[in-house]
Amino acid sequence: MKSETKIPFFLINRYLLRGNKWKIVLIVFLMAIAFINLIFVSSLFSGIIKMSNDQIVNAYTGNIMITPENGKDFIEDADEKTEAIAAIDGVKAVSTQLTLPASLQYNNIKGNWSVLAINPDEEKNVTNVSQKMIEGEYLDADDEDGIIIGRQIAGGKDVEMDAFSFKNAQVGQIINLSLNGISKDYIIRGIFYTKFINTDQRAFISKKSLESLIPDVFMDKTNSIIIKTDNKVDERVIIEKIKNIFSANYYSWEDVAGLMTSVTKSFSSINVLLYIVGMLIAAITIFVVVYIDILSKRQQIGILRAIGIKPYLIDSLYVMQTVVYSCFGVLLGAAIYFAIIVPYFNAYPFQLPIGDAKLSINYVELIFRAETIIFVAIAAGLVPTIIITRMKLLDAIWGK
């Protein structure tokens, strides 16, 4: 190492030790805020996307949904097939659902919602509906006259689809279900609220109660099988294995996502735009602050030049100084982010119609954005230093 290359390190060390602490703290804090600004929106969008994906998996389809093959209304021998699927390595739980062509009536309000006959014990191992009861209780497997309905069906104040709902139906009240000309009264056992609107517009009855309603018609039949898999397993691998057991239509949760996939793509585009805007704001802010800081040191830069310190060493000194500031800024920003902001939004998530969104951190993006801040800081440090080290020496010394 050439002897002179130690000069920037020596001077940075002394500046940090003896420089104006408040100024250093303010610059580092500003860089921390710029970093948080760059990662916050990205994490929020990632959180919304993750939440919507989780909602589809947990509240709607599980990881895999199987429907009858084209031209058929049912999957026959459902119990046997379910057992075979459950035996596949990586499958955690399986539930069969039978969507009924039924209508519901509460007082004078009548409507067609998705009414699903399920085995409640199987269903609660695949979806989280059983954990999302806001009133009353989940179904028992042998419940013959109970029904649970989603919040969007029950309705009430502040319910998004209140206009098309039962307008504040309560637990314990009666709903009449009509199916193929047969009707039966059901007692509302509970109201669930998954915050996934497609699920909250559903009603569930037990298969046992369906048997008592129309004996034998739907015995051992189903029109959808939903499957919960181990998180580490690729759904496509499981689907391939199921294909070897029986023919049907197979969908991963991503295939079912549909609208959410396009929303996700829109979020990704907005995320890129906001990243560019955030980066520009960070660049300009950091540039202005670093420029003012370095400009205030032009007399010191003039002195360094006058005593024979080479311009490239002075450039290196201030570039390295901004790198140090930006590294500390990124560390402080990350500390604030992980110690304050993330826990806060875990406790008080953003409440969206499709669920509660928390911040989700993509570590690759986090590192990329940290590098962005450091790169911007380098440019912000380099430009004013080059200007000052190339200006007339006497002007620099006199602080002109």
């Binding site: 130690k6 000069i7 020596f10 002394r14 006058a306 005593i307 310190i309 080479k310 311009p311 010394i397």
Partner: protein, 225 residues
């Protein structure tokens, strides 16, 4: 025996712009600086003495003319080469000391030497110089904790650290009280007579002119004596 010429200044001119007014600060000034000279440059305010000194110290470039140092015209050299000459050949002492505010006395002095040698050696040499200028007890102080006279001593020690061929001092006593000024002048005298340093000093103090071996008087940008 003829004295060795260290710097030859040939017909240099320098213009300044003060607003819209063009000021001719130096007009065809020629001058030789010899080894072991104690050259005093004097003159009234605005006579061009500090401008001349800045050209000699390579802090500024003349508009015309040549400055020959080590047989080379240094006027057209790139900034990195001029910085190298300032570091190795010239020791510049500013009127307002020009010390680095975040560095201690010792660090200010050793900084130029760190460009050329190890930190350890630079520190050893800086310690010798801090003792020489009588500031051993202040070596860990920051410049703002020193009096004007003490700061100027630090500036002198810093200028000496790389054993320059010429010490250049721009009104080094202008901001000092009489006692401190006398102290500084005595240091310059010793540096010239005992250590055989070549010194070029600008002053407008009559009583300081006598300590030089040669006097150059400027008026309106021209040497008149």
């Amino acid at each position: 025996m003829a004295k060795q010429v260290l710097i030859v200044i040939k017909n240099i001119s320098k213009n300044y712009k003060l607003g819209e007014v063009k000021v001719l600060a130096l007009k065809n000034v020629s001058l030789n600086i010899f080894k072991e000279d104690f050259l005093i440059i004097t003159g009234r305010n605005g006579s061009g003495k500090s401008t001349l000194l800045r050209q000699i110290g390579l802090l500024d470039n003349p508009d015309r003319g040549e400055i020959i140092l080590n047989d080379k015209n240094v006027v057209k050299l790139p900034e990195s080469k001029r910085a190298e000459l300032r570091l190795k050949k010239l020791g510049y002492i500013f009127q307002d000391y020009a010390l680095m505010s975040d560095l201690t006395v010792l660090e200010n002095i050793m900084l130029p030497a760190m460009m050329l040698e190890t930190t350890k050696n630079a520190k050893i040499r800086a310690n010798q110089l801090v003792e020489k200028v009588g500031l051993k007890h202040r070596k860990n102080n920051l410049p703002n904790q020193l009096s004007g006279g003490e700061q100027q001593k630090v500036a002198i020690a810093r200028a000496l650290i790389n054993n320059p061929e010429i010490l250049i001092a721009d009104e080094p006593t202008a901001n000092l009280d009489t006692v401190a000024a006398k102290d500084i002048i005595n240091i310059f005298k010793k540096l010239n007579t005992i250590d055989k340093h070549t010194i070029v000093m600008v002053t407008h103090e009559k009583n300081e002119e006598s300590c030089g071996s040669r006097i150059v008087r400027l008026m309106d940008g021209k040497i008149i004596k």
